[in-house]
């Protein structure tokens, strides 16, 4: 749109360019060493041959990806059949992550809206309260959750003593428990970005909508939600992505039946029983899926920007 800086370009701007590149070196180094290199390593490992004592043999192989998709029997000599177990784990992970995202959104949006519409002083108290549990290690919180919801835990005892139920509800090692764990782990990641965008929201727009005969629901749907959409989308991504790769909640609360992709990967790198290339391959597949989600988001952003915002 606007033209370049008029006049004086040439030499001056190229020295500036060189200078800028030098200043950006630390950032490039950090991105390279801590972000790109590990991913590259994973990519390489996923194409290597596994060593039985853990670790890898430096020999190119597609075995890891093959194992993920095909079942060739115990000794690898049978005709390949589709291996459903890992695909199932993946689908279950996606399903669980979607559900957790939805749950966080349904609870998180009103929470964020509530906080953002309080007086400025009390907002910070509310925000602080939201973040307080996160000062405690996730592992400890997840184990505590298990104690709270087990058959003889306080939750069931309270439900029984209040006469709501006669026998304890079995919650540990169910999908419900995993869901609860994921929801509890990632709720603030939903609340905070939505809070940030609701706080920036111009409430005169809600008044304008009401003035133009919109009821509350219409105002929410047609005016508030579109205005705070960036926060909602950011929140959804921040919950969905880590939920998809979570392993603490499914491990501790879900048991063997409710295995998720994060646990599968974790297991490949633990102890001597692991399979590093397979773990790396599963990671790459997970990463690809996350990237697809992020690309959809990025495209959405570009489209709404072209729309004029």
């Amino acid at each position: 749109m606007a033209g370049g800086i008029p006049g004086g370009g040439g030499a001056a701007s190229s020295t500036f360019g060189a200078y800028r590149n030098r200043l950006l070196m630390p950032a490039w180094l950090a991105i390279g060493i801590f972000l790109l290199l590990p991913v590259l390593l994973m990519l390489v490992y996923s194409f290597l041959t596994k060593d039985f004592r853990g670790g890898v043999i430096w020999e190119f192989s597609l075995a890891a990806y093959d194992q993920f998709i095909f079942d060739r029997g115990l000794f690898g000599d049978e005709a390949p059949k589709i291996e459903w177990i890992y695909i199932q784990i993946f689908l279950r992970s996606i399903w669980q992550a979607l559900l957790a995202t939805l749950l966080c959104l349904v609870i998180g949006f009103p929470t964020a809206y509530f906080i953002a519409t309080r007086a400025e002083k009390s907002r910070f108290v509310w925000l602080f309260l939201i973040t307080v549990p996160y000062w405690v290690n996730l592992l400890i919180r997840t184990v505590s959750m298990k104690f709270l919801i087990r058959d003889t835990g306080p939750l069931n005892e309270w439900l029984i003593s209040s006469g709501l139920i006669a026998t304890p509800i079995h919650m540990v090692n169910t999908n419900f428990a995993v869901q609860l764990g994921l929801f509890y782990s990632y709720l603030p990641f939903m609340v905070l970005p939505i809070y940030a965008s609701v706080e920036r929201y111009n409430f005169a727009l809600s008044e304008a909508a009401a003035d133009l005969y919109a009821d509350r629901w219409t105002t929410l749907r047609h005016v508030i939600l579109p205005s705070v959409a960036p926060g909602v989308i950011a929140g959804c991504i921040l919950v969905f992505v880590p939920s998809l790769g979570a392993f603490l909640a499914p491990d501790l609360l879900g048991g063997a039946k409710n295995f998720m992709i994060g646990s599968l990967i974790e297991e490949q790198f633990k102890g001597n029983a692991g399979n590093w290339p397979f773990g790396a391959a599963a990671s790459m597949i997970l990463l690809t899926m996350v990237l697809i989600v992020l690309m959809i988001y990025a495209r959405q952003q570009v489209r709404s920007e072209q729309g004029g915002r």
Binding site: A204, L205, A208, D211, L212, Y213, A214, G308, R309
Partner: protein
């Protein structure tokens, strides 16, 4: 509930409306028992400094706030308890409040869609509204692609589109620059006359109020100070606040010497006795304030038998006018304004003594 005394009910009737925010010790009274009537097709302005309660009154009519006491009627119907979306009034907001994620056409169509108008009708009406504000070519743009003045006009089109009985305007011109503001004044007035809709206009700008309104309600500290036409309010202010707030004036301490019906004779300090029109009941022997507009005063060379004489302290050139500051012998400083037309400049300069002449009927004794 029909009002038998009036065949045509007024557009808006505010009956003893009071509004307080908060409770107990922290209570803030924004509006102290205000009553007023706005006629149909009227361009009615609520004028006052910030915090005077004018916006609160507008928000009460729109339904964004509920009165603490009293009631508001719209064409004879009670509005009590009705939320904003059930009131047949529309608002033009101070900072436009256009929906940023919608196109201009969608913005204008918003109210019509909520009223469940047919798609054909919505389209036709949006087109007509955009033509009315001369912005038909912007239909597919977004609000942030428009200039401030254009956004202002879209806000107007959006509020007019559903065909409200009363249009409420909350300082709609305050965010525009001077030239645009002046052009919009004429446009708004013309639009009000063309559409025949009652306009309730809130502003702190007296010039805006004087140039556009049929009637003006001057407000201060949550109270109505005076309601009347522009001429009334400027020429016959009721009290000190109105005289001081509208235009420029000289407020002089006087003693009432004699009262004759609508007129009073007042003594200005030790100087002259001055006939004044009165804004309310006056009693001889009391002290009060007289307002005299600077343009109704003139200066001349003293010739010995003048009643009021002083020394010219300063001359301020204002383009069309020149302003003189005259210090009377008792220390009072009076502002005199003279037009610079036709070489009619006064022959007195700074430091010189001058006699003050007051136009007949220019002095007004105020109610405090």
């Amino acid at each position: 509930m029909a009002d038998t005394s009036n065949t045509a009910p007024s557009a808006v009737e505010v009956r003893a409306v009071k509004k307080a925010f908060g409770a107990g010790a922290a209570q803030v009274v924004a509006l102290k028992t205000v009553s007023l009537t706005i006629a149909d097709n009227e361009f009615f302005t609520l004028l006052g400094p910030s915090g005077c309660g004018k916006t609160t009154l507008l928000r009460l009519i729109a339904g964004f706030e509920q009165p603490t006491d009293g009631e508001i009627l719209l064409f004879g119907e009670h509005l009590e308890g009705l939320p904003p979306n059930k009131r047949p009034v529309n608002t033009v907001f101070q900072h436009y409040a256009l929906f940023p994620h919608m196109t201009i056409a969608e913005n204008v169509a918003f109210g019509l869609r909520r009223l469940k108008k047919s798609e054909a009708e919505v389209k036709e009406r949006v087109q007509r509204m955009l033509e009315l504000v001369k912005l038909a070519h912007t239909a597919d743009r977004r609000p942030n692609q428009l200039s401030g003045g254009q956004q202002q006009r879209i806000a107007l089109a959006r509020a007019l589109a559903p065909g409200p009985k009363v249009l409420l305007l909350d300082e709609p011109l305050s965010a525009l620059d001077l030239k645009l503001r002046q052009a919009m004044r004429a446009e708004l007035k013309q639009m009000q006359q063309e559409t025949g809709i009652t306009f309730v206009f809130v502003t702190h700008d007296q010039e805006e109020a004087l140039t556009m309104s049929d009637r003006i309600a001057v407000m201060s500290a949550g109270e109505l100070q005076q309601v009347g036409g522009a001429l009334d309010i400027y020429e016959a202010p009721r009290n000190r606040f109105v005289a001081d707030f509208i235009g420029e004036t000289n407020l002089l301490d006087v003693t009432v010497e004699e009262v004759r019906g609508e007129e009073a004779l007042c003594r200005i300090g030790s100087h002259a006795v001055l006939p004044c029109s009165t804004a309310g009941p006056a009693t001889a022997g009391t002290s009060g304030h007289v307002s005299i507009r600077p343009e109704r005063l003139s200066l001349s060379k003293p010739n010995g038998d003048d009643a009021i004489v002083g020394q010219v302290e300063r001359l301020i050139y204002l383009g069309t006018d020149t302003q003189y500051l005259l210090r009377l012998d008792d220390g009072t400083v009076i502002t005199v304004r003279a037009q610079n037309a036709h070489d009619s400049r006064l022959e007195v300069g700074p430091g010189e003594r001058a006699a003050l002449k007051i136009d007949a009927g220019a002095s007004r004794l105020l109610v405090d």
